[in-house]
């Protein structure tokens, strides 16, 4: 690897100032960082969910530029290039994407955008570049959807964010094929704190996909990204995440969208990797007629604790939300689903639907479903359903009676169970997920 810019471990004012200086940031961003740091220093750890005591915030490197940005894949160091090749990124870029960004550790190392999309006026930039070149656009929304004071990890993120993507879609422009970002945590002991901000002007639409992975190290490491989405009047934003971090990653994210009048925001989240995940994509339905769909697929295996959820906050009349989760839990893993629908007093005619189904593949698998339906007016339609089950012996026998092996039959049943979510995931990822689901099923049948 070429020269690296790394900071010493731990979080101090000096570290934050150095990150800002390294990036050549304007003063307002440095001030935002320092304010976030102050807030961070007085906020407590989350009081719910998994045990985070293993995360030593004083022993993390908050910034590392391990790879210099390049203009073509060939220029990347071989190790990184091989990884991206194996993930099929260059291929996907050619065939199915309007734009692609790839981040290693703290910095975006590769970015491309189709000429057609660029000439439509769409911005698809590394976050730092956007801060320097489009300060007004960024400043208007950056950490306004999720302010640093929202929670400890939002504050931490605000202080040390690095990398990520800025997307701006001009009024009425529809980006027909997806934009994609790929995040790789490459170096041991270095946290990743990328910031993604998507602003969709009125009547525009865009689909953004992010994927993530990391090599496995013995030491735990923190990923705490943030996604902010602003969907203006009548805009449609779809945000798909396929998270497959290695099993030493604490993945503690903040994702939130604001949907203005008639806008629609869809979240599709596949959570497969990490040691511990806390992830609750939220849509604030701020304008009349705004809607959101929040689809989650969680696959927790031995040793994992995936605490996920979905939230819809109805702040305006005639808004609607649909939160759907499918979880598959194997071994001694634990998966929690927190589904929250809040309806404000003035949000008459709001409709909310929460649906959570869990399939347990082992006697040791643990799960919890925590629905909160909270309406402050009576003119609403809210529904909640939850099921927890195991694979039915009769279903298994039926499939095997046609010649399918036990493994094939189980795999088909599990894939069928998650299919309502899987079919919403772009094909190349869906195939990968299907393969991941062909797993060991010992003790899976109830």
């Amino acid at each position: 690897m070429n020269e690296k810019t790394a900071l010493k471990r731990g979080l101090t004012r000096e570290v934050v100032e150095e990150i800002s200086r390294e990036k050549g940031e304007p003063d307002w961003m440095l001030r935002l960082r320092l304010r976030a740091l102050e807030i961070f220093q007085r906020l407590p750890m989350p009081k719910f969910g998994p045990d985070l005591s293993e995360v030593d915030l004083a022993d993390i490197s908050y910034y590392l530029r391990s790879v210099e940005p390049v203009a073509s894949w060939d220029e990347l160091p071989e190790e990184i290039r091989k990884t991206f090749d194996a993930l099929g990124l260059p291929e996907a870029e050619k065939e199915a994407l309007a734009g692609l960004g790839a981040q290693v550790d703290s910095e975006v190392v590769y970015r491309s955008i189709l000429k057609d999309v660029r000439t439509q006026g769409v911005l698809f930039l590394p976050m730092e570049e956007a801060v320097r070149e489009h300060p007004d656009l960024v400043r208007e929304h950056f950490m306004r959807v999720i302010p640093p004071a929202d929670n400890l990890f939002a504050a931490l993120h605000g202080a040390v964010w690095s990398g990520g993507t800025f997307v701006w879609v001009p009024e009425g422009v529809k980006v027909e094929i997806p934009l994609q970002a790929y995040f790789r945590m490459q170096t041991q002991g270095v946290g990743q704190f990328e910031h993604t901000l998507i602003v969709a002007e009125p009547g525009s639409s865009v689909h953004y996909i992010e994927g993530c992975s990391a090599p496995r190290y013995t030491k735990v490491v923190l990923h705490s990204g943030m996604v902010e989405i602003v969907a203006k009047e009548g805009a449609h934003v779809r945000f798909t995440t396929i998270q497959n971090w290695s099993r030493n990653v604490y993945n503690l994210n903040n994702k939130r969208a604001v949907a203005h009048a008639g806008a629609r925001v869809d979240w599709v989240s596949g959570s497969l990797g990490s040691k511990v995940t806390m992830l609750y994509p939220t849509t604030v339905l701020a304008g009349p007629g705004a809607s959101t769909e929040n689809l989650g697929f969680t696959f927790a295996r031995d040793g994992q604790y995936l605490d996920v959820g979905a939230r819809a906050l109805h702040l305006a009349p005639n808004t609607s939300s649909r939160l759907v989760s499918r979880s598959v839990i194997q071994g001694d893993a634990k998966a929690v689903f927190r589904g929250k629908v809040y309806v404000a007093k003035n949000a008459r005619g709001a409709k909310g639907h929460v649906e959570c189904s869990t399939l347990l593949l082992s006697p040791q698998a643990k799960t919890e479903t925590i629905p909160v339906l909270d309406a402050e007016n009576d003119e609403v339609e809210l529904a909640h359903e939850a099921t927890v089950g195991r694979i039915s012996k009769d279903h298994l026998f039926y499939l095997m009676s046609r010649g399918l092996t036990e493994q094939e039959a189980l795999s088909l049943i599990v894939n069928g169970f998650v299919s309502p979510i899987l079919k919403e995931i772009p094909l190349e990822y869906a195939l990968e997920l299907k393969r991941l689901l062909e797993i060991s099923f010992e003790g899976a049948v109830g």
């Binding site: 039915s392 026998f397 499939l399 399918l404 088909l412």
Partner: protein, 252 residues
Amino acid sequence: MRKLDLKGNLFPMAILETQDLHVSVEGKPILNGVELALEEGKVHALMGPNGSGKSTLAFALAGHPDYRITHGRILLAGEDITHLPPDQRAKRGLFLAFQYPPEVEGVKLREFMRLACGDQGHGFCEFQQLYPKAIKHLSMDELADRELNVGFSGGEKKRAELFQAWLLRPKVALLDEPDSGVDVDAFKVIARAIRELAAAGTAVLIITHYPRVLEHVPPARVFVLNEGRITQTGGPELARTIEVEGFKAVQR
């Protein structure tokens, strides 16, 4: 050992045979020494009052793990399959059309059959060719791309079971109550498929307590099961006797 009939002729070799089959469910004996022989290309009927053990026999033959064979043997084409798992039996050509096929969420009929065909040694090309043909033949067009049995009516489920049999061309097809919940017109489609299976060489066993079904698919042989044993064996006239006089007439 080949058996001789009264005139000293060799019985045709059975494709499926049970010898002194005893089956327990949850420790409770249900079948007590069933002797059954099915012949290639023929339609057989297994009749008996409710609770006589008909479905138990079907599940035991297909290898359901809850149906424990405590004594006796099952031979398929001369091979002992008594202790094989269900998929191994299916691969050797045994098929069970369920009385109550389960609804399996998210599993597409097409994908299921593609896997089944592959496992049973039919090539992919063969499947590509046969599938649409079978869909058309069994009037399955509306069900072809649906989830497996999910939201199917009783009659649709039965049709889907026969569709699978017709596609997979088993050596032996056990059809558990293929008529229940099916209206007369829909049953004609099913009955035709059953006759075609037999004509193509499949040994068919229709399990029913409703003799009228057999008018559409005349059986060559009729077995009466009572209290876990075959108590009568005969030709089509046995079914007619049951239809007119009820099971009491044939019980010992």
